[in-house]
């Protein structure tokens, strides 16, 4: 079985990144937006792991970075959900369009 070229993996991660981006810009539901952000983060993780494996197979830097990002993403999800709950309490909605007081 021949080796999968790096570009294939980068295609996957780029697709994942733009799917996440599309979700982030089009969904009004904050939970969906949070999930889109997770997709973006995961595409980054894939990049790290792939580059680590293909460019510097003897080192673990990329792997460690990925673990860091997963940890931080967990923390970030907790904070984001806390914000969403608070938003729901004050606005009775988790639609970002309803929280637009900070405009001109």
């Amino acid at each position: 079985m021949s080796e999968i070229p790096l570009s294939h993996i980068l295609f996957v991660s780029t697709a994942l990144f733009f799917i996440g981006m599309y979700g982030l810009f089009t969904r009004r539901n904050m939970i969906t937006m949070l999930m889109s952000i997770e997709l973006i983060l995961n595409s980054v993780n894939i990049n790290f792991v792939a580059f680590n494996k293909y460019l510097y197979p003897n080192q673990l830097n990329g792997i460690f970075f990925t673990i860091f990002i997963i940890t931080i993403a967990a923390a970030e999800a907790a904070v984001a959900i806390a914000i969403i709950i608070n938003l729901y309490r004050s606005h009775h909605s988790i639609d970002v369009e309803d929280a637009d007081e900070l405009k001109w």
Binding site: R28, V96, D100, L102, K103, W104
Partner: protein, 649 residues
């Protein structure tokens, strides 16, 4: 007792009472602020008399000539080693004389006001303002420095403004106070420029040094001021004339006199103090203070003389036609100050030629007493009648015997009838004028005749004339006020005694242009003409006004246009209004306003409009939608990435 120990108290005590009454008067001393003011004035009057005694009889003379003494001098602002603004006290014959006049008349007015202003809502404020005025005026007369005199000059201006506008709920009083302030301020611009010219060339602001430098023909300063000229006139003449313009504004000389008649809107005792006896003679005092300098410059002296003479005659003619008694007295004041001015103008420096100087100061001295007496009498009359108009009065001599006698004596004094004080000073002035300028002498004699006429017109209209309806029927009876309180009668009596007595003071041995005593015998033959004219004018006034008759009406109709224009004050107010409203407003004011509104404001409005437009255009970006922001952010990052990738290489 040396001067240093008490001389600064003379101006500073009234300042203290001003601060005290002004800050706390209305709250804490509502009922006895008048007493406080009067006691302070009494103290400084006593101090002034002590000073005068000390100066004139003990240590003022050196070799039979009065020297100027500077007991206190304090450098206030030092510009350079030579030029400084000092605050100090100078004692010389004229300043000591003015100390007595100011403090004494002010004391009388303080006492009179105790009765006159009683029950006034702003009684304490009134006394505070009177104290402020007294402080400023005393500071003015003892000034050692030309800038010090300018500072106090403005202070008397502001206290005059405050007191004219004392009844600030009356629009006419507000207008009058503004008019007085603006006209005198306008004249003071001339004064300031004059000060700057003199001080620039003399390189000092100190009176004594300034006079010394500019009167010694060898000094470099003298050469510099006489050789430099502007429009063909030497700077000395310019400087002195501009200083005189300041004096003319304060002293209500033609054509800057328009504020004085209107200033009669203030309380009557104020008119007696400020607009008759003290502040309005500040201009005369200023010229006298710089007299050694003026005597070097014939052109400036001639301006002083002719302006004085024209004012004297013009005001006397106007006074004959006015019907408001305070306005008559105001024009009379202007006329008498005109006398003082032209007496200075015809005088020269030195013993014999200095007669006019001495006569001017003498007239200033006697005028202060009889004119403040006239005003206080007018105040007493107005207090009873509640009107300023002559036609509302008449037949008051039975009702107000003391006021009647006092007014009669003051009228005789101002008309120049011997042996009252005005006679002596007026004779000196006419003698001085006769010796130097026959035209001015003629004007002086005519003015003196008019003076006798209008004063007795006033006298007869107030105290004689109509007897029906009787005073009691008109509701002025004893029951209402009587003649006023004791505090109102007392100053009248004191000032009457002064009016009779001060003429006998051998004034020429105290106050002369060079300090040396002067012999001034009264020439009987010379005084026949003016006295005879004055008596004739009095008899004429008696014929016209002693009983009500048709004659005054007929005469005024037969004089026609002349009478009307004199009644309208020769349309000088109208000329001023024409010049300011039609010419200055239209040619200067409106274009300036147009530039301000359209160009200056327009530029600012343009900036504001552009900013507002731009912000309206870009405010849509700030939509409040989080995803839009994220999109911009992403766009920005993508843009930067493209930039770095393709341009960073």
């Amino acid at each position: 007792m040396s001067y240093e120990s008490y001389i600064t108290l003379i101006p500073l005590l009234p300042l203290l009472s001003f601060v005290l009454l002004g800050l706390f008067g209305r709250k804490y001393f509502k009922n006895f602020s008048g007493i406080i003011g009067t006691v302070v004035l009494l103290a400084i009057t006593v101090l002034s008399f002590i000073t005068a005694y000390q100066y004139f009889f003990v240590d003022g003379k050196v070799n039979d000539v009065y020297q100027s003494i500077i007991p206190v001098k304090y450098i206030w602002l030092q510009f350079s080693p030579n030029v400084s603004i000092d605050m100090g006290v100078v004692l010389d014959p004229i300043s000591v004389m003015m100390l007595i006049v100011v403090s004494f008349v002010s004391l009388m007015v303080h006492i009179f006001s105790l009765g006159y202003m009683k029950g006034e809502e702003r009684f304490s404020t009134y006394y505070a303002f009177l104290s402020l005025f007294t402080f400023s005026m005393l500071g003015l007369v003892v000034s050692t420095n030309i800038f010090q005199i300018y500072i106090f000059w403005e202070l008397v201006g502001i206290s005059s403004y405050l007191l004219i506008g004392f009844y600030f709920d009356k629009p006419s009083a507000v207008a009058a106070s503004k008019k007085a302030f603006i006209v005198t301020r306008f004249a003071d611009v001339g004064f300031l420029i004059g000060i700057l010219i003199l001080a620039f060339h003399a390189e000092t602001l100190d009176f004594k040094t300034l006079i010394e430098r500019l009167t010694s023909t060898q000094s470099s300063q003298f050469i510099s001021i006489t050789t430099s000229s502007f429009l063909g006139v030497s700077m000395l003449t310019w400087g002195l004339t501009l200083v005189f313009i300041g004096g003319a504004g304060k002293s209500a000389m033609f054509p800057l006199h328009i504020w004085l008649p209107d200033a009669m809107e203030g309380p009557t005792p104020v008119s007696a103090l400020i607009h008759a006896a003290t502040m309005v003679v500040a201009g005369v005092y200023l010229v006298a203070r710089l007299f050694p300098l003026y005597s070097f410059d014939v052109v400036a002296l001639n301006i002083v003389a002719y302006v004085g003479a024209i004012s004297a005659l013009l005001a006397a003619i106007i006074a004959c036609t006015q019907t408001d008694i305070k306005r008559v007295l105001a024009y009379s004041t202007m006329s008498q100050i005109g006398y003082m001015m032209f007496a200075l103008g015809v005088s020269r420096y030195g013993s014999e030629q200095g007669l006019g100087y001495m006569a001017s100061m003498f007239h200033l001295f006697t005028h202060a007493f009889f004119k403040s007496l006239l005003f206080l009498c007018a105040g007493a009359v107005i207090h009873v009648v509640h009107s300023n108009e002559m036609k509302d009065m008449g037949g008051l001599r039975k009702l107000m015997p003391i006021t009647h006698i006092a007014f009669l004596i003051a009228c005789l004094a101002i008309a120049g009838i011997p042996p009252f004080s005005g006679f002596f000073s007026k004779e000196e002035i006419l003698t001085a004028a006769y010796n130097s300028n026959k035209l001015i002498y003629t004007i002086g004699v005519f003015t003196s005749m008019f003076t006798a006429f209008y004063m007795f017109r006033l006298y007869f209209s107030i105290f004689w004339a109509k007897t029906s309806p009787s005073p009691l029927e008109r509701g002025w009876g004893e029951a209402a006020h009587g003649e006023g309180t004791l505090s109102m009668k007392f100053p009248l009596v004191v000032l009457t005694i002064c009016t009779v007595a001060v003429g006998f003071i051998p004034f020429a041995s105290f106050v002369t242009s060079d300090g040396a005593p002067l012999e001034t015998p009264i020439d009987i033959v010379f005084s026949i003409l003016p006295v005879a004219l004055a008596v004739a004018a009095i008899l004429f006034a008696a014929r016209l006004y002693r009983r009500q008759n048709e004659l005054p009406e007929k005469i005024s109709t037969s004089l026609g246009a002349l009478y009307r224009s004199a009644y309208k004050k020769f349309y000088i107010d109208e000329i001023y209004l024409f010049i300011t409203k039609k010419i200055i407003f239209n040619l200067v004011g409106r274009p300036a306003a147009w530039i301000d509104k359209n160009i200056v404001d327009g530029f600012m409005n343009l900036l504001a409009t552009v900013t507002a437009k731009i912000s309206a255009m870009i405010k849509g970006l700030q939509s409040g939608k989080v995803q839009d922001y994220a999109l911009y952010f992403f766009g920005g990052v993508a843009g930067l990435a493209v930039l770095f990738i393709y341009l960073g290489k």
